[in-house]
């Protein structure tokens, strides 16, 4: 962003990631330092939304040069102000360092993490002040809505969205334009538009980021949708665990109402649209659209059978269109720049870009937006900077608890809705968890099943009880108690839970098990038949801990840390571990200063 009244602007990332790493203190320190140096009138400090590179937060960008500083702490501020803002010298030690060449990079666009990204939904994130509607307007904000209301018929809007090829970004990938058409075709005096911001996949935070960083974009997308289907009321269903997103969205709603781009007679036309925020109460299942609507109605968040689909009978029995945050974030661009430009990016059946939350055993973690069709390899190695600690890549889990784990030979797979499903994973909401050689795939399946079984709403038999039975089998395998027939039973359970569950949660819950069985069945077998965990991750399958007599210096650190008093030894004498009492927790290994403790 540019503001000519100031000679320089300092953008401090204020996404939840950077808030956690202390950006508020950096912001306060900056403001104090500028005031005490009499620079407050020359240099403006702006808190933006998420910049995506959470790994390196708190992030600070200094304009006009656009110098990108990472991991800035309050103690760095004095130097930053004195050197950069007063003497125009870049502070090299705070710049991003290329992990391979170790060269400093001052312009963020030249950093690998950003280079291969293509930002449409996240275009404004980290660059504008989410608190100010004017900042959004400066980036052509609400121009798409103006065009919609003053130049386009509702059918034309829907045709444009259909032509763009946009598919639902919440995971299902249903063509958005078709969904809008169904809602438009439904006959009713009352219709609703709902934004699903009940982001619940572990590790995924693109919806939160969008709402925190660019809330007006979502509002604009929703109003365009309302005009297209003939709705006059809407809800944004945000999980209550996102207080910052709710606060910024509420502020944006108030500003939009004030500015006449929301509420009565938008842009002085006959079209009116009222938008509310509904805070969810923490149930993962409320991300399922029918459970979400039940929750808005004040009912227990339990999914309802489809058909009838929400487009026919949705919120309070009225036709409703429900889309994900990221889906709405793409709408203004499609309307303003046209379907053709949007669909020029991506693959034949998956157009545009997708935002992924990149985490796990990888060098660069954070939020990335990439064109559809990019390979997993490019995301992991070019953007993500490869695997950390010189470890080998093992698998990537894509799509959260509903998705699957893909092995190395699938890394060249182009990322689009259909190829992912074919490979046994799914786009899901866009979680990407990278795993290295130390990760046990049975344990990964157990982790995700533990999540889905505890987040099942408990309504239908296969999801409520079936996922619990699956979890019990996985638990016993990782504890070395696996039995002959367990793999067969897991497959039978998985097949039936998928085919007979009531909603998407149950229908996709077995995917982590099925995909790990598909690509890593040997690991299951090693646990069951050889009582071994090839990754060395399942504690129960590892041998007892032993202390090397040569290396032990008799410091008693291990004796002190052992939670079950299994280690004996006097100071300066070799210690011993009682294998019967040892629970193989590993605390002694972490504590030992001479690495004298190992597993047999």
């Amino acid at each position: 962003m540019k503001d000519s009244t100031y000679r320089s602007q300092v953008l401090v990332c204020g996404g939840t990631g950077c808030v956690s790493s202390g950006c508020q203190e950096v912001m306060d320190a900056l403001e104090n330092e500028l005031s005490s140096n009499g620079l407050a009138d020359e240099i403006k400090v702006v808190q933006t939304g998420c910049h995506g590179f959470c790994e390196k937060g708190p992030l600070v960008i200094v304009y006009p040069k656009g110098v990108f500083y990472c991991q800035v702490e309050p103690e760095d501020v004095e130097e930053l102000v004195a050197e950069h803002l007063q003497n125009d010298n870049i502070v090299d030690r705070l710049l991003y360092k290329d992990p391979v060449t170790e060269e400093s990079i001052s312009n963020y666009e030249e950093i690998d993490f950003y280079q291969k990204q293509q930002r449409i939904a996240l275009a404004n994130c980290g660059h504008i002040d989410p608190h100010e509607i004017e900042d959004y307007k400066e980036q052509d904000g609400y121009q798409a809505l103006k065009k919609t209301l003053t130049e386009l018929e509702p059918e034309e809007v829907i045709d444009e969205v259909k032509d763009s090829g946009l598919r639902g970004r919440g995971g299902g990938g249903f063509p958005t334009g078709m969904k809008w058409q169904f809602a438009r075709d439904a006959q009713s005096d009352k219709k609703y538009v709902i934004c699903n911001a009940d982001e619940g996949d572990p590790g995924a935070f693109m919806d939160r980021s969008l709402l925190e960083s660019d809330p007006h974009r979502i509002i604009e997308g929703m109003v365009i949708n309302a005009y297209a289907i003939g709705a006059d009321e809407g809800y944004v269903y945000v999980r209550a665990e996102y207080p910052l997103a709710i606060e910024r969205l509420q502020r944006a709603l108030d500003q939009a109402n004030e500015a006449g781009v929301l509420g009565e007679n938008i842009f002085d036309t006959d079209f009116s649209f009222e938008l509310h925020i509904k805070a969810g109460a923490g149930a993962f299942v409320c991300g399922e659209e029918t459970a979400l609507m039940a929750s808005i109605e004040g009912e227990r968040g339990m999914p309802r059978s489809r058909p009838p689909f929400p487009a026919q009978k949705g919120l309070w029995g009225e036709p409703s269109n429900i889309n994900n945050v990221e889906t709405f974030a793409n709408i203004p661009d499609i309307i303003l720049k046209g379907a053709e430009e949007f669909s020029s990016v991506g693959t034949e059946n998956s157009k545009g870009t997708k935002v992924f939350a990149l985490t796990g055993k990888i060098n660069n973690t954070g939020l990335v937006e990439v064109p559809m069709g990019i390979s997993m390899k490019e995301i992991i190695y070019d953007i993500g900077g490869g695997i950390g600690d010189d470890k080998e890549f093992k698998a990537v889990q894509i799509g959260g608890p509903s998705g699957g784990c893909l092995p190395e030979d699938k890394l060249d797979l182009p990322i689009d809705y259909d190829s992912l499903i074919e490979a046994g994973a799914m786009m899901g909401s866009g979680g990407l968890v990278v795993m290295d050689e130390d990760t046990c795939m049975v344990d990964v399946a157990r982790f995700f099943l533990n999540f889905t079984q505890s987040e099942s709403c408990g309504k239908c038999t296969p999801c409520r009880i079936g996922t619990k039975r699956m979890l019990q089998i996985l638990e016993r395998i990782t504890e070395g108690e696996g039995k002959e027939g367990d793999i067969k039973l897991l497959r039978r359970l998985a097949k039936n839970i998928k085919s007979s569950s009531l909603c998407g949660l149950g229908q996709t819950a077995p995917n982590p098990v099925l995909s790990t069985l598909r690509y890593f069945e040997d690991e299951y077998k090693a646990h069951i038949y050889d009582e071994e965990c090839p990754a060395g991750a399942c504690q129960a399958l590892l041998g007892a801990y032993v202390i090397d007599e040569e290396d032990c210096v008799g410091c008693t650190s291990c004796v002190d840390v052992c939670p079950v008093d299994a280690i004996e030894g006097e100071k300066k004498e070799v210690h011993t571990i009682d294998p019967e009492a040892c629970i193989v927790c590993g605390s002694c290994v972490d504590e030992c200063p001479t690495d004298a403790i190992f597993q047999e």
Partner: protein, 357 residues
């Protein structure tokens, strides 16, 4: 009326728009197992044993909640259907104690019938070995054993939508889900709206909900079923007395749209207040006080005595000296006759009725 034509197991059937696949299959005489479905209740679709296969997509659907649509082709007996139904029954059994031998619902348990029908003698995940929940019965009428509950939600729907008490609902999530009362106080607790209509017990497909006074007193195959009119008020609810050895063990519901209580409704009196029938103090012959003591008399003696005393009072002090209190146990017609008799024959306007209180 718009109709829909579909095929089930290659047989064509025509149903009214809005009918479900289950309705269509039943019209053709097919028997699809269900646990959470009840024709009088809002559909729930949770048990997943009424699954059928859509031949066009190869996917499974719960027939009780899937609307029939034009041109649909449904298969009932495929391997996919059979295995999914069987597995869902096995999953329910894994969370259910195997104590049919001592269960009051033996012979009247839909889960037991399905396990029998599908020949599940050795369920893949076993059965519940140790009780997971405490039994809840801090009230005189209804016992809830959550260990036997299959969470079909029929009790919740009958309570919320037919009796409209909102006394019970689902609580917790996932495998921790249970049917609960407000603040875990139990039925009849301080914040409970339960009126003890007993309809939840009637709706329960297993032995999770049972009538406390009937426990251990007999099971379905031992009962003689007697259809009767409730003796308590003028509504005339039709009830089913379940009788063993000439003693009423429990009072059940009858579902008949021509009845004054078409959905099997009852009140606490109709459902539970039947022990007067065989009570030793119950009057079975008229008594007349002679020489200061009540003595058995014939009806002629008793009625003549009453008529004589009424006439005496009327002659001496006028009809207004008499008053009549009628009972809600009488029918409307009987109550009409009563007031007519009091006014027309005895000449008094002093007529009252216990239901006015």
């Amino acid at each position: 009326m718009e109709t829909i034509t579909l095929k089930i197991n290659d047989q064509e059937v025509e149903v009214e728009a809005g009918a479900t696949v289950l309705d269509a299959a039943e019209k053709l005489g097919f028997d699809i197992p269900t646990l959470c479905h009840h024709p009088d209740l809002e559909e729930h679709g949770s048990c997943r044993v009424c699954l059928v296969e859509d031949a066009q997509s190869g996917s499974l659907m719960a027939s009780c909640i899937t609307p029939a649509s034009e041109g649909m082709e449904i298969e009932l007996d495929t391997e996919l259907v059979e295995d999914a139904r069987k597995m869902n029954i096995e999953l329910l059994l894994s969370e259910h104690p195997n104590d049919c031998m001592t269960c009051d619902a033996d012979g009247n348990c839909e889960l037991q019938s399905l396990a029998y029908q599908y020949g599940i003698s050795n369920p893949a995940f076993g059965t519940m070995e140790k009780a997971q929940f405490a039994i809840k019965d801090k009230n005189p009428f209804i016992q809830f054993n959550p260990n036997k509950c299959i969470l079909c939600g029929k009790c919740v729907r009958v309570d919320n939508h037919i009796q409209c008490s909102d006394a019970i609902d689902f609580a917790n999530r996932g495998s921790e889900s249970v049917i609960a009362t407000p603040l875990e106080e139990g039925l009849g607790g301080e914040h409970s709206n339960c009126v003890f209509c007993g309809q939840c017990v009637e709706a329960c497909p297993t032995g999770a909900l049972s009538y406390k006074p009937a426990q251990g007193k007999g099971r379905v195959h031992e009962f003689e079923k007697v259809e009767t009119t409730c003796p308590y008020c003028g509504v005339g609810c039709q009830l089913e007395l379940r009788v063993k050895d000439n003693q009423i063990v429990q009072v059940g519901s009858i579902y008949d749209k021509d009845h004054p209580n078409p959905l099997g409704e009852a009140c606490v009196k109709g459902r539970f207040a039947y022990d007067f029938v065989d009570h030793p103090d119950r009057l079975s012959k008229p008594l007349v006080k002679k020489d200061g003591e009540l003595q058995e008399a014939t009806w002629d003696e008793a009625l003549d005595y009453v008529a004589e005393k009424f006439s005496e009072i009327k002659d001496e002090d006028g009809g207004a000296a008499l008053a009549g209190l009628a009972s809600a146990k009488c029918t409307n017609e009987e109550n009409y006759l009563f007031q007519k008799f009091m006014r027309g024959v005895l000449g008094t306007n002093h007529v009252d009725h216990c239901a006015r209180l």
